[in-house]
């Protein structure tokens, strides 16, 4: 009997070895490109051309300084932070107010309004971009913060309403009934009862909205043509015209751009994963 047990054990460990090999290869496929980018970003231009996988010698920290200056990184980061944060706050405010009414009032029309909002999750940005651009140009809002923040907020509303309405519905009603008997107004009810109880979903929604707006490219490309208001992805894209001559500096630029994202990702990993998979239900 003993050999049978051993056989079984052996079978299991060999089964797991296959798993580890599969996962190991997959992880290397992800990590190696990043590693190569990091190493190459520290090489001199001439070493980079002749030695694609050696270690940097000498180490060129100057590439980072060059990348920082050549596309005006401080300004790009300032714009990205301001635009993303303002849009997240705006979307949160507008969507949570509507979600509160949709979750709590049993008007017959509410169901229709809710479905009307959900349709928005299926509308790709591309379908609305041309008229939006023309309108923004006519009211002179292209190349302004408002001209990008307003569309950003609007396009996050459907997802926000979907996530927040479903969450608020799970909050028990009793607290609100008590608050109403105590003479709370609707606004007070919202601020003092709903908002504090919805903090977890607010956090999830804010994080996924922030991540997707931080990386958004198409709207930014079309609506922000001047350098003054450009975001990080746009600034990086402008490297493309010069990458043949300046690859090491460009790679340093991509490293600078991804560091903040990766730090946020590692710190808030669970929230991001939860949000991204919850948001995917929209499909």
């Amino acid at each position: 009997m003993r050999w049978k047990k051993m056989m079984k054990k052996r079978k299991y460990s060999s089964k797991y070895i296959k798993h580890y090999i599969f996962l190991g290869i997959s992880i290397s496929m992800v990590i190696l490109p990043f590693l190569w980018v990091l190493i190459s970003s520290l090489k001199t231009k001439s070493q980079f051309m002749v030695d694609p996988y050696g270690l940097p010698d000498p180490v060129m920290y100057e590439n980072y300084a060059d990348a920082f200056q050549s596309i005006n990184m401080p300004n790009l980061f300032k714009n990205s932070i301001f635009i993303s944060l303002t849009s997240v706050l705006g979307a949160l405010l507008v969507a949570s107010a509507a979600a509160f009414v949709l979750a709590r009032c049993s008007f017959k029309i509410n169901k229709w309004i809710y479905s009307f909002f959900l349709i928005g999750m299926m509308i790709p940005l591309n379908a609305a971009i041309i008229p939006l651009f023309i309108t923004l140009k006519n009211v002179k809002l292209t190349n302004t913060y408002a001209g990008i923040i307003i569309p950003y907020i609007a396009f996050q509303i459907p997802m926000g309403i979907f996530l927040l309405t479903n969450y608020i519905k799970t909050i028990p009603n009793e607290l609100e009934e008590a608050a109403i008997i105590d003479g709370c107004s609707v606004v007070q009810l919202f601020i003092k009862v709903i908002v504090p109880l919805s903090k977890p979903i607010f956090a999830t929604f804010s994080i996924i909205t922030f991540m997707s707006l931080w990386n958004e490219f198409l709207f930014a490309l079309v609506f922000l043509t001047g350098e003054e208001f450009q975001t990080v992805p746009l600034g990086l894209a402008s490297f493309r015209g010069q990458y043949d001559t300046n690859t090491t500096v460009m790679l340093a630029g991509t490293v600078i751009a991804m560091i903040p994202t990766l730090i946020i990702y590692v710190l808030l990993r669970d929230n991001i994963v939860k949000g991204m998979t919850a948001g995917a239900v929209k499909g």
Partner: protein, 294 residues
């Protein structure tokens, strides 16, 4: 809440969302439809052309044909590779394996980074002279495989598709992984007591319980290819010789480079209709018996 009679304040809560959503998302959709019946440069006279834009789009535009072909190629190859691969990763991670959380964190890493960064990284990696891909091939004596990856119309589209798969494999894996974790362990215990082996368990328990997430991933992949823009714009700009044009990039090209606003709008309506149709069909379609529950 129903006790609240103050309808004015209720409206106050709903109006900002309705107004923004209506004016910025729904309104422009109809405007797009309207523009698509005109020949228009974005300023000056709008010349009504009826269905001419659509007729040209479907019958008389070679680049549009390439864009359609590439978009469906993109969707098809992504489905064929991403679905099984992401599924296998998720299933492997759900077994009693160590560091599964760290591994999933690493695998999803490319998905949180901007597509611009991913595109630039891979442009450098695939560079014909200084990139490591060709260097590795040459070292291994496989010189005949080395090529100008992004400059060769025969392979450039496949390269872009590969980079996109590389970026999103972790994301689709996570969707499967989350849904796998909601399957109760007792089901697997019962199956193994009944003498089910690994393959049978996968075939008769895991996959039937995953139909919804398979559908969700498929929808995301297909719609993703309809609106795919960032990666093509940053890797190839649609080139060389328009060989990597897709629906969204060709729409951008027509509208914001050539100022054919009417024609661009017609393409954007095609993107919209395709997206809506696919999500509607996939929502209706039933894979096997979906009444299976646990």
């Amino acid at each position: 809440m129903n006790q609240v009679k103050n309808k004015k304040s209720i409206l106050l809560f709903l109006i900002p969302a309705l107004a923004l959503y209506g004016c910025v998302q729904i309104g422009p959709l109809f405007q797009s439809l309207y523009y698509s019946f005109f020949s228009w440069k974005g300023f000056g006279e709008m010349k009504p052309v009826g269905l001419q834009n659509y007729i040209k789009l479907f019958t008389d535009d070679d680049i549009m044909r390439i864009a359609f072909k590439n978009t469906f190629l993109f969707a098809g190859i992504s489905l064929l590779i991403l679905l099984p691969f992401a599924f296998m990763l998720a299933v492997t991670l759900t077994t009693k394996i160590r560091f599964s959380k760290t591994i999933s964190t690493i695998l999803y890493m490319p998905g949180v980074i901007s597509t611009v960064v991913v595109s630039l990284m891979w442009c450098a990696i695939l560079n014909a002279e200084s990139g490591p891909v060709n260097a590795v091939l040459r070292t291994m004596g496989l010189d005949f495989l080395a090529r100008v990856w992004l400059g060769d119309p025969k392979v450039s589209m496949y390269v872009v598709i590969f980079v996109n798969v590389w970026q999103w494999a972790g994301y689709h894996m996570l969707i499967f992984y989350t849904s796998l974790q909601s399957i109760p362990g007792e089901l697997y215990e019962a199956a193994s007591i009944d003498g089910s082996d690994g393959f049978k368990t996968l075939r008769y328990i895991t996959i039937p319980l995953m139909y919804n997430s398979i559908k969700m991933n498929a929808t995301l992949i297909i719609i993703g290819s309809f609106k795919c823009f960032d990666i093509v714009y940053n890797m190839t700009m649609g080139g060389p010789a328009d060989s990597t044009q897709m629906l969204a990039t060709y729409m951008y090209h027509n509208t914001f480079r050539r100022f054919n606003y009417g024609y661009g709008s017609a393409i954007s309506m095609v993107i919209f209709l395709l997206s809506i149709t696919v999500s509607a069909i996939l929502q209706k379609v039933k894979f096997g018996d979906e009444s299976v529950s646990y």
